[in-house]
């Protein structure tokens, strides 16, 4: 693929763009994984939200 005399600028643009968007995607996914893990840890320690406790009590009584 011949991108002419300014090929370096084109590749640099696409590389910078891919790096920025790639980092953004990676950071978002990693953050999601961290939060899910923190919530699972809290759940394992028996910490429950009021709505979860109410739902569980409802299931037990029904």
């Amino acid at each position: 693929m011949d991108l002419g005399p300014h090929a370096a600028f084109i590749w640099a643009s696409y590389a910078a763009f891919a790096a920025i968007i790639g980092l953004l995607i990676g950071w978002t996914l990693l953050d999601g994984w961290r939060q899910a893990k923190a919530l699972a840890d809290a759940d394992r320690r028996g910490l429950k939200r009021r709505s979860d406790r109410t739902a569980n009590q409802g299931q037990k009584t029904s």
Partner: protein, 253 residues
Amino acid sequence: MKSMQTLTQRLANPTRFMELSRAILPWIAAGAALFIAYAMYLVFFVAPPDYQQGETVKIMYIHVPSAWLALMGYSIIALSSFGLLVFRHPLADVSAKAAAPIGAAFTLAALITGSLWGKPMWGTYWVWDARLTSVLILFFLYLGLIALRSSLEDEALAGKLTAVLALVGVAILPIIKFSVDWWNTLHQPSTGFTSSVDPSMRTPLLLSAIGFTLLFIALHLKGMQNEILRRRVKTLRLAEIERGDRAFSERVE
């Protein structure tokens, strides 16, 4: 009216939002990947070089969507801030917070790709003209919103102050949009999706814009999910600390 309220209330429920967003997120992400992949195929293997700019026009296919999403990101923050301050919508602050880093990333991408496009076309990476400077201010505004929020411990206060700043900063949007018409700038007037662009270039540009817009939406939804989970974890930890404090004071008494 009643059904409208019910719909708003239903959408305002974070648990329902989590269910709905989990169901549609994979489809939006897949759509983004397909559109972007096809657009990039057209850009590198089908779209012709421009008669004046040659192959450097390929930078347009990422620069224009980035610039468009930089503005869209701030519009989402402004609308969400309005929703928080006026309607106290429970998800408005979550939406504003999640959109800030995504908008900042696309603004940075627009600045860098524009600069790398400017050097071969204008002979310089940067000029302090109205369009470039106003987009740089937009980038600093994004950073300001992120910094202000993270500098305050109180989540509710941080949300309100950030919302006020976001609404004050919304004045930058028309300045960016019309800067090329109001002032004599080096940046060309907007021709992005108009009929003055040949279809062989307009089609990949349009597909690229749709693809990256879908990616923005997917990242925004995922960011909102993350923020809801973060707030749940924080609430649980605070409740745990409160229970611990109460048990301690009972023992002391």
